[in-house]
Subunit: 362 residues, 2 copies
């Protein structure tokens, strides 16, 4: 009902910028297991891509992501391979390349089957100790050939050992140059953890977000790449809750204010699963830097007994933020996503013209 009310005007398209294909047909995981087995025993290796029918894809989405889109009144999901499944720490660069291509191709098929509902974002074939430049070809393929609008970038391809250089290291620069050339952003997103200290969705994900933000804060990366854009998911990890700490640390380090230093380039999604968290996010972070997202079907799958609604139905929290104007919501629900994912409007042109979207106030 809330959704129906909110959508009286066509302009209120609701874009969820953070969805993973967590419900992919089991043939995908079987392929991956063969691939992993092949690392030890080449006779086991998966030489062919998994055979998955269109009907299997439809079935995997109809009862999950599409059902929730309909129920919750969201329109489009920026959709990428399962984050936990990226597993960049497994095997070598070749392993990651084959696996990434298979996963990205599957996302492409999802988007082709449901062009109204999904727009693609790719997994990169990262691998510990391998220069990120190795990902350029797959990024180009996904954007130029498959029509994807961005990528997920893993700040820790080691899966919880953090053995590679920070995101601000020069070794990342060739990949960033390509992102700038293609005009696509990256969502910072770790994969699973193979370090027993870190539960994946409960610690490693949020630590990755917090860590990346602080790497940016202490670097000149956005002087070097003024148009490079990153989305920090899961509401920015610990960052908005500690916004005063970050403002203070930046000041103590004689860095520029955070708005000037980072907020032309760094954006936060709304994957925060309770009202108080979303209230804080919207209060502390400028509206222009917040992108609607739910990560459904993802880290938390159940219903909150305190509210009777799904934990990850984040639109409900946004609707309930005190004092949020329609103009603010328009930015959070779509305007900011269109700005950050600059190729998105062209992909959505069948639904709502880009010029109309651009004329939306922001």
């Amino acid at each position: 009902m809330r959704a129906a009310g909110a959508k009286d005007a066509e302009a209120t398209m609701i874009i969820d910028c953070h969805g993973h294909y967590t419900t992919a047909p089991k043939e995908l995981e079987a392929y991956r297991q063969r691939q992993i087995a092949g690392l030890k025993d080449p006779s086991q290796s998966a030489s062919e891509a998994p055979k998955i029918t269109d009907d299997q894809i439809r079935e995997s989405l109809e009862k999950a992501q599409l059902k929730f889109q309909r129920e919750r009144g969201t329109d489009v999901t920026i959709f990428s391979p399962r984050a936990m499944g990226m597993g960049h720490h497994i095997g070598n660069a070749n392993t990651s390349l084959h696996w990434s291509r298979v996963c990205n191709d599957l996302i492409c098929r999802v988007c082709a089957l449901y062009p109204e509902n999904f727009v693609g974002v790719c997994q990169l074939p990262q691998s510990p100790g391998v220069p990120p430049a190795n990902c350029i070809a797959e990024l180009k393929r996904c954007v130029e050939e498959l029509g994807f609008v961005g990528c997920n970038l893993n700040p820790d391809p080691s899966g919880g050992h953090w053995s590679d250089p920070p995101l601000t290291d020069r070794s990342w620069y060739p990949l960033y140059e390509t992102m700038v050339d293609l005009d696509v952003p990256a969502m910072i997103h770790v994969s699973g953890s193979c370090n027993p200290n870190f539960h994946a969705t409960g610690a490693h994900y949020l630590n990755g977000d917090t860590t990346a933000f602080m790497q940016f804060l202490t670097s000149d990366i956005f002087t070097d790449f003024p148009t490079l854009k990153f989305i920090i998911p899961h509401g920015g990890g610990a960052v908005p809750y500690h916004w005063g700490r970050y403002r203070g640390i930046a000041q103590d380090l004689k860095r520029p204010p955070l708005g000037e230093l980072l907020l032309r380039n760094v954006f936060f999604d709304t994957c925060v699963y309770h009202q108080a968290g979303i209230d804080l996010l919207v209060k502390v972070i400028p509206i222009d830097n917040i992108l609607f997202a739910s990560e459904m079907v993802g880290a938390v799958k159940s219903i909150d007994p305190q509210t009777g609604h799904y934990f990850d139905d984040t639109m409900r929290y946004i609707e309930a933020v005190p004092g949020l104007t329609e103009k603010d919501k328009l930015k959070i629900y779509q305007g900011n996503a269109r700005n950050v994912y600059s190729r998105l409007s062209a992909r959505l042109s069948g639904r709502l013209s880009a010029s109309k979207a651009e004329s939306a106030p922001h």
Copy 2:
């Protein structure tokens, strides 16, 4: 003025549960540098404890921690060696033992010089790959001989490589048994980071907090040790901001509700340096689980240009939380600290009798 108002009643003693001796005389650091040099060249090693006079100690505190206590109207700080300085990743178990004894002895002198203002908490002689049981003797010495009321426990003695087992591993149990026997809690607190991915105060500290909480959530540690108590500092890292996520993950994992699972044993401090963050903390976490703290003089040393007050003057934020009752504040400012640090009231008996404190409503 706020403090004067708040302190009309003697019962409103304000206990800051999180202060480090960040301003120790330079002789301490010189000793440490000799110790580190001695790791490579034994002829350089520091055989004697640093010579520091009482006047040097007084001077180091009068213009810093004591000045801020007076200005802000706080009374007692639970005081421990500089967290960044613990450096458990440097050298070996012997290095850490000598360094910990020197640091803890200095805290003991601070507490003896200013028994009204400081109560000691110790650094543990942890070392990567060394069983935590190795810390038992120093913990006992600090509690039984030096009169300390707790310890700081580093969940990652490797300094950002997270190469040791999680806090829920059985190797920690002998230390926990001693904590239970002595009836002292531990504050979970990492030290400096030697991993270039992690800025210490901006990422590693908060990640350590978040990680520890999730380790507890997935374990039965508090079934095994029903009276073991931990304080997670820095407002609990990312945890309160993502409280819905944690409630949901616990539910999905078929764990008991967080209150039952963790909140008899896990407490959060108030080192969150802006109003919106403290508002969220107090809204989301039960009042009984929140301990007043500022970590001054610590991670953020400057004045917030938005408020004109020090970022780490956290009492101001607590005073400004809408709807917080005097009873709530009494718990946050002292009642909860007395409950968690069960040896604290005896140490404070010269100021406010334990029986009076216990009769405070909570």
